[in-house]
C-alpha cells in the first residue's frame, strides 16, 4: 500500500514541477518578446497611462526649491555694484571714501575685512565660506587709471588671510609671501596706483592658496581707462565665475556665476534690445583647469584682460584658466530669452547657467 502511495506521490511531484516549468517558460517567453519589440524600459504598460513620463523626465532638470535665506549678495544687484554703490550714503561711508586729488585723479579708500560666513550657494545647500565683507564674491573695486587705491584690511576670520590684487604694484603690496600674511585680529593697509587699465581681480594668497580661493576669498577689480575710446556701454555687469566643493573631495558640486547656482535662470538679467551691454567676466573657479562662457543667439566683442581698447575677437564663446578675464561687449539682436552658460555641460548642469531677458 505504502509502496504504491509513494510512487504516486513521487510521480505527481515530478509531473507538477514539469507542468509549472512548461507553463511559466511559455508565459515568460511571450512577455519577453513583447518587451523587446517595445524597446527600452517600456514594459510597464501602466505607466503609459500616466501623464507622459518621458516629458516629465526631460523637464526634471534643475535644482529643487528656492534660496530662502537672505543672501550675502543679491545676485541681480551684485551685477552692477562697485565701490559699495548699492549702499545708502551713510552706510557707504563705512566702507568707501573717494577724495579728489590735485592732478585730477582720486584717492579711493576701502575698508575690507575677512570673515567666516555661512552662505547659501544653491537652494538649501549651505557652505562654510571665507569671505571679504561677508560676501562671495567680495566687493567689486573700481577705479580709474592713475587713481590711488588704498585698502584698509582687517582679518576677522580664523586663519591668516591677504588681499593679493592683480595689476601693477610694489612687491611689498603683493600680499602673497609669508611675511605678508595678516593673522586673525591683525590689519594691513594695501596701497597702489590703479594701473594698467583693464579688468583685474583680487584674491587671498595665504597658504594653502587652493583652499583660500576655493573657500570664497576673491573679487573683481576694474580699472577704467583715463581716455576711453571704446563705444560707450549703457549696461555694465560684473560676472565672477566660481564654484564650490561642498564635500571637500577636490571636485566642485556647485558651479555658478556670482555664487548662487541657477540664480539668473530663476531671475533672468533684463537688458534692452540693441543697447551695448558690457560684461566684466572673471574666472576664479578652483579645482577645474578651465571654465568658459557661451552666449546663445548673439556674438560679442572680447577685450582680453581689458588692457587694449580694440577688441581681440568677435565670438560667442571664451575659455579662461583660473584668474583669466575679459571684457565682453554685446548688443542683443532680437528680443526674447537667451541662455548663457559654461560650455562644459557638466558645469552648466551643476548650476553655471543663466538667462538674459531682452526687451524691446
Amino acid at each position: 500500500m505504502t509502496k504504491k502511495l509513494n510512487i504516486i506521490i513521487l510521480s505527481t511531484v515530478i509531473l507538477v514541477i514539469l507542468l509549472v516549468m512548461l507553463f511559466l517558460s511559455k508565459q515568460t517567453q511571450v512577455k519577453r518578446s513583447v518587451e523587446e519589440s517595445m524597446g527600452m524600459g517600456s514594459m510597464q504598460s501602466s505607466v503609459s497611462k500616466n501623464k507622459n513620463p518621458a516629458q516629465k523626465a526631460q523637464e526634471g532638470f534643475g535644482p529643487n526649491g528656492e534660496v530662502k535665506t537672505k543672501q550675502s549678495i543679491n545676485p541681480t544687484a551684485f551685477l552692477s555694484t562697485w565701490n559699495f554703490n548699492n549702499l545708502p550714503p551713510q552706510e557707504r561711508k563705512k566702507y568707501y571714501k573717494e577724495t579728489k586729488r590735485s592732478d585730477g585723479t582720486a584717492l579711493r579708500e576701502y575698508w575690507i575685512y575677512a570673515a567666516d560666513q555661512e552662505i547659501e550657494i544653491a537652494p538649501g545647500v549651505f557652505y562654510p565660506a571665507w569671505t571679504y565683507n561677508g560676501q562671495v564674491p567680495g566687493p567689486t573695486i573700481r577705479a580709474t587709471e592713475g587713481d590711488l587705491v588704498r585698502i584698509y584690511f582687517t582679518n576677522r576670520g580664523t586663519k591668516a588671510h591677504t588681499i593679493h590684487s592683480h595689476g601693477f604694484h610694489k612687491a611689498s603690496m603683493d600680499g602673497s609671501m609669508p611675511e605678508d600674511f595678516v593673522y586673525p585680529g591683525k590689519t594691513f593697509t594695501y596701497e597702489f596706483t590703479a594701473e594698467p587699465f583693464g579688468l583685474h581681480l583680487n584674491h587671498c594668497h595665504s597658504s594653502p592658496v587652493k583652499q583660500h580661493i576655493g573657500k570664497g576669498l576673491y573679487g573683481a577689480y576694474i580699472v577704467d581707462p583715463r581716455k576711453d575710446t571704446r563705444p560707450k556701454a549703457s549696461r555694465e555687469l560684473v560676472m565672477v565665475m566660481n564654484g564650490f566643493d561642498t564635500n571637500f573631495d577636490g571636485e566642485n558640486e556647485v558651479y555658478a556665476v556670482n555664487t548662487e547656482a541657477f540664480s539668473y535662470v530663476k531671475h533672468p538679467i533684463k537688458v534692452k534690445k540693441g543697447e551695448r551691454v558690457r560684461i566684466y567676466l572673471i574666472n576664479t573657479l578652483e579645482s577645474d583647469p578651465l571654465n568658459s562662457f557661451h552666449l546663445h543667439g548673439n556674438f560679442f566683442d572680447e577685450y582680453k584682460t581689458g588692457t587694449k581698447q580694440d577688441p581681440n575677437a568677435f565670438t560667442d564663446i571664451v575659455s579662461f584658466v583660473q584668474g583669466e578675464r575679459s571684457i565682453l561687449d554685446v548688443q542683443f539682436k532680437f528680443p526674447g530669452q537667451y541662455m548663457f552658460h559654461a560650455h562644459q555641460s557638466e558645469f552648466t548642469e551643476k548650476g553655471w547657467m543663466g538667462l538674459f531677458e531682452v526687451e524691446e
Binding site: M21, G60, N64
Partner: protein, 393 residues
C-alpha cells in the same frame, strides 16, 4: 521577604534613572560635546529604475538628522520628491522619486546633497528596469528558483539508489564526502555573510545580526536533536539518519534562501545577467547538495520506495527556499535579512556537519582520520570547489 525582592529589583533601576536625570541636568556634558559639526552619515540602499523614472531609498546611518536638499544625477541637478520628509531622523528611511531620462545599460551616478553640502553617492554599473511585483516577474523568479534550487537538489537525490548499492565499506567515504560538502557550503555562507556585514547600515549592527543568526540556529538545532534523541529510540540508526537528512535539508534550505536572495536581488538590479551557462553552473553546483542529503541514508535505508516521501520532502525543504529567496530578493531586498538568513543557514550547516562528525567518531578523535574518511572529505571539498567554477558567470 517579597518586599525585599521588589527592593532588589527596584533599587538599581531607580538609581539608574536618578543618575541619568542628574547627568543630563547637571552632568559634565560639556566634556562630550564637540564644536565640530557631527558628520552626516546617510547612504543609498536601493535604486529602482522604472521607465523614465528613478526611485532611491536612502537611510540615515548616523546619529544626527540629515536633510537632503538637492540631487545630482550623472552630474546634473535634478528635481525630486521625497517621502515622507526631506529630513531623515537617525535610522530613518525615505524614498526619493525623480523623473529622469535614464538609458538602459548605461552607468548612472546618483549623488544626494545634504544641507551642509555633504554628498551621499551611489554608482549603478548598468541601469536596467527593476522588476515590479507583477505576474510575469513572479513567474520568472519562480522559474529561477526551480532551476537553481529545486531541480538540482532533486537530481542529486536521484543518486540514492546508486549510492545505496555501494558496498557498506564505502559508507564512511560517502558520509565524510557529505561532511566535506557541508563544510565547504558553510564556509561559503560565512564569507558571503561577512561580505554582507559591510553593506548593512552600521546603525543596524551587521555583526550582531550575524552572531545572533549563527548561534541561534546552532543552538535551536542542537536543542531539537537533543529532544529527538530522547523521543526516538537512539539505537534506531535509520531514524537518526532520517533526522540528519532533514537537518541537512533544513541547513541547505536556509543557505539556499540566502543564495536565492542574492541571485534575485542581483538579477533585479541588473548586476548579473543570468545567462544559461550560469544557471547550468548553479545546477551542477547544487546537485552536490542533493548528494549531501541522501548520503547519510544509504547505510540504513532498506527499501527506497518505502521512504521516498521522506526523500522528496527533504528535497523540497532544501530546494524551495531558493524560490522564496529569489522572490524576496527580486522585489524587496534588504541586506539585513539576507545576512540573517545566511547566518542561520551557516549555523545550521555547521551544526549538522559536526553532528555527523561526532557520530563517525568511534572512541578517540584520531579514529576520525581513516584514509577513507580523509579521502571522502577532501573529495567533498574538491567537488564543491570545481563545480563552483561554473557559477562565476
Amino acid at each position: 521577604m517579597k518586599r525585599r525582592i521588589y527592593f532588589y529589583i527596584g533599587a538599581p533601576l531607580i538609581s539608574l534613572v536618578v543618575f541619568l536625570f542628574v547627568f543630563l541636568k547637571f552632568g559634565p556634558l560639556g566634556l562630550f560635546q564637540t564644536t565640530v559639526v557631527p558628520l552626516e552619515d546617510a547612504f543609498i540602499q536601493r535604486v529602482v529604475f522604472k521607465p523614465e523614472q528613478i526611485t532611491v531609498t536612502v537611510f540615515n546611518n548616523g546619529a544626527e538628522p540629515v536633510t537632503i536638499v538637492q540631487a545630482l544625477i550623472n552630474d546634473a541637478y535634478w528635481q525630486f520628491t521625497m517621502e515622507p520628509s526631506r529630513t531623515l531622523q537617525p535610522r530613518e528611511r525615505a524614498v526619493i522619486n525623480m523623473y529622469y531620462p535614464w538609458l538602459s545599460g548605461d552607468p548612472q551616478h546618483i549623488s544626494l546633497l545634504s544641507r551642509n553640502g555633504t554628498t551621499f553617492d551611489k554608482e549603478i554599473e548598468a541601469a536596467a528596469i527593476t522588476p515590479q511585483l507583477q505576474a510575469d516577474y513572479i513567474q520568472a523568479f519562480i522559474l529561477l528558483g526551480l532551476y537553481v534550487g529545486v531541480i538540482p537538489v532533486l537530481l542529486g537525490l536521484m543518486w540514492l539508489p546508486l549510492l545505496k548499492r555501494l558496498h557498506e565499506k564505502w559508507y564512511g567515504l560517502l558520509i565524510s564526502l557529505t561532511v566535506g560538502l557541508l563544510i565547504f557550503l558553510g564556509v561559503d555562507a560565512l564569507f558571503e555573510a561577512f561580505e554582507l556585514i559591510q553593506e548593512v547600515p552600521t546603525a543596524l549592527n551587521g555583526s550582531g545580526i550575524f552572531l545572533i543568526g549563527f548561534l541561534l540556529s546552532i543552538l535551536v538545532l542542537s536543542a531539537v536533536s537533543h529532544k529527538t534523541e530522547h523521543l526516538f529510540d537512539t539505537d534506531h540508526e535509520h531514524t537518526q539518519a532520517l533526522i540528519w537528512g532533514y537537518l541537512i535539508a533544513l541547513g541547505i534550505g536556509l543557505h539556499n534562501l540566502g543564495e536565492g536572495l542574492a541571485i534575485g536581488s542581483a538579477y533585479a538590479i541588473g548586476a548579473v545577467a543570468l545567462g544559461s551557462s550560469l544557471v547550468i553552473g548553479f545546477m551542477l553546483h547544487n546537485i552536490t547538495e542533493g548528494i549531501a542529503i541522501v548520503a547519510p541514508l544509504t547505510k540504513t535505508i532498506k527499501n527506497i520506495r518505502q521512504d521516498v516521501h521522506h526523500v522528496v520532502l527533504m528535497g523540497i525543504i532544501a530546494g524551495v527556499p531558493t524560490i522564496i529567496g529569489s522572490l524576496i530578493g527580486g522585489f524587496s531586498y534588504t541586506t539585513e535579512f539576507a545576512l540573517l538568513f545566511l547566518a542561520i543557514g551557516a549555523g545550521a550547516i555547521f551544526d549538522v556537519a559536526f553532528d555527523i562528525i561526532h557520530s563517525i567518531k568511534k572512541g578517540s578523535w584520531l579514529s576520525l582520520f581513516k584514509v577513507t574518511h580523509v579521502i571522502g572529505f577532501l573529495a567533498g571539498l574538491f567537488i564543491m570547489y570545481l563545480t563552483g567554477f561554473f557559477v562565476t558567470g
